[in-house]
Symmetry: C2
Subunit: 381 residues, 2 copies
């Protein structure tokens, strides 16, 4: 049984108000292509299919297209579970009517765990799709007492343990936060204060666990309890992550082996740092000047319309930090004189940029007097 | 080919801020039951499945349940097209993956009209599902020049004319406004100023046209060009309508016959009129006191908390009209004296209700003086 494990597609997500739909289409194309190239028996998406419970219509249309290509054109079964970002009822609509097509969507939690037996070219396997469910939902559906995420998950896994797979490998698909997992800035916490943490040992008894939620690829507890990570970088904190899907192969004896298949973003998400002049120069020849950038500007002087200037060469600068000014502020001694000097310097830079010429001595004196006057008012106020 | 034609379910709709979900479940149960009883070959829903492009999650769950019972349990094919209220992309998600199950959803308009050949116990037929599409959408999808709804529909029907059904009856499913159609208050106009009107003659060449949009059952142009009407009364203007689904039977020679199968609402929508005292008395023994009511109160005096009093016996009064007061106001001559007398009478009613006793002569004089004083201020202002 050979399948691609991916998760956290977050279709419809924005990065600093920038729609990522084209970027998502670009990388989803690769996933479809990889599934075809590697001749997999299934594709598994472990939750957070959409970014919001009510996705925009063009996000729905994009997923519809991906589903058509995988399921109808390539004839590859597709298993998707609802994550904490998904609207379970919406995602799960008409799921029963899709099963025969090879599209298996697990939306709302139900009393009977969804078991999906798939045929592989090298052996079959049973997949158990557990949608994201907080303890309150598990209490409600199973009419039982559970208070932590770990207890809730243990309850859901009871059925997986009990199910007779007739010797076939058991593959769990789940969306949760494993204790010790490494977080990014783009995940929405499942609960406050660590009550969402689940011990990885709950999953080690199964042949493989395909997890979603954490955006960096990683495994916890054992190599076969894995997060595939998201398909794109959804925050600047992920700039050094390598995004991939996980190619999983379950041997006849049930042992799982893995390979990370890298994904290439249409536009990378990265942070660049430097002086304005350097960055403008560098941008002219930067082959990746379309990347989504956070720029840390080290200039210590004021710069008029810094964002506009940067976007001339890097059109997708999404965020600007004036680290040069920030460090000045922290370094500067807060004596009156220093502050006054700082104000004059700042204005002087501003004046030069707007007028194209430095201030004359006379102008400097007038400005110094004006600043002094303001501070007098401030002191007597 | 025998099928049920219904439309305008508007699942998730509210009536004067009152959720109708239980009422909708109640009547959808009847539709499922009628489909089973009459052993139909299909159920056709001609648009406005949901009330809004983004239906609430419990509306999605209700439709999911209905679909499961019709398609999976009863094995009856279900055809649904998107109406002007539906979100076409959302409704149409994964439609291709559902087809084999017998669930045929036609969401966004596509260049190729959806043809669905269904097997009937007494002969097959071809259904053509045309989702609601305004002229701009038709121009965009077909890259053609159409400016009115009629031209747009003619464009869509070209393919239906051209399609070779191998002699099978042609049944068109469409959501539009036929010229001369009788409107209710609960339909959202498709366009302003009558540009949405389509001649019924466009549809007469086909064996049957299952229409949606108008909420009263009716036919236009010919008996086989029909609106089934909505499944519930969605405004008080529909109080005298009888809601039904249309049972259609297409004979071997292609001739269509019809029968209206009545639907019973859990709570009727009706208007009652009378004096408060009469209505309170009548409500005590009214077997239908749970109905959704608009009350027209003919009392000519002020009544404190009229809504609260009525709801003691008619808990689902949704709207109150003080027709007694309204007609008084229109009759009254607008001389100062009349107005003053009116004010004193109003206050006197109010006083009696709050205190439980009529005003004494002394109190009346004080009030008259106060009113006079107010008018003096008014005159000099």
């Amino acid at each position: 049984m050979k399948f691609i494990h991916t998760s956290d597609w977050h279709i419809g997500r924005q990065l600093h108000n920038q729609s990522l739909l084209d970027d998502q289409r670009f990388v989803l194309d690769q996933i479809v292509e990889l599934a075809s190239q590697h001749d997999v028996d299934a594709v598994v998406v472990a939750g957070d299919i959409y970014d919001r419970s009510i996705p925009p219509a063009n996000a729905v249309a994009l997923l519809d297209d991906v589903v058509n290509r995988l399921v109808n054109e390539l004839n590859i079964p597709l298993i998707m579970i609802a994550g904490n970002h998904d609207g379970h009822e919406r995602l799960g609509f008409a799921a029963r009517q899709m099963n025969d097509s090879g599209l298996h969507i697990i939306g709302p939690l139900s009393k009977d765990v969804r078991t999906i037996e798939l045929q592989g070219k090298q052996g079959n396997a049973v997949f158990y799709g557990l949608p994201y469910a907080d303890p309150a939902t598990v209490r409600h559906v199973f009419d039982c007492e559970v208070s932590t995420h770990e207890e809730a998950m243990a309850k859901l896994l009871e059925q997986v343990h009990e199910h007779d797979s007739h010797g076939l490998p058991k593959i769990v698909v789940s969306h949760c936060f494993l204790d010790g997992g490494s977080e990014s800035e783009s995940e929405r916490p499942l609960s406050i204060g660590g009550a969402d943490k689940i011990s990885p040992t709950l999953f080690t008894p199964f042949n493989y666990t395909a997890l979603g939620h954490l955006h960096g690829p990683q495994y916890k507890g054992a190599e076969h309890v894995r997060y595939s990570g998201s398909m794109l970088k959804y925050s600047f904190s992920e700039q050094h992550q390598n995004k991939s899907v996980t190619l999983v192969d379950i041997a006849e004896d049930g042992a799982a082996s893995f390979e990370l298949l890298p994904l290439t973003a249409m536009r990378d998400v990265r942070i660049i740092e430097g002086l304005m002049a350097e960055l403008l120069e560098q941008g002219k020849t930067d082959a990746h000047n379309q990347d989504y950038l956070m720029v840390r500007l080290t200039d210590k002087n004021a710069i008029l319309d810094a964002m506009g200037k940067l976007r001339d060469v890097y059109p997708n600068v999404l965020h600007l930090e004036r680290t040069g000014l920030m460090s000045d502020n922290t370094k500067v001694e807060l004596s009156r004189d220093h502050i006054k000097k700082g104000e004059l310097d700042m204005f002087s830079d501003f004046f030069a940029q707007v007028s194209g010429e430095p201030m004359t001595d006379e102008q400097q004196q007038a400005m110094t007097a004006a600043i002094e006057e303001l501070h007098k008012v401030e002191r007597t106020a």
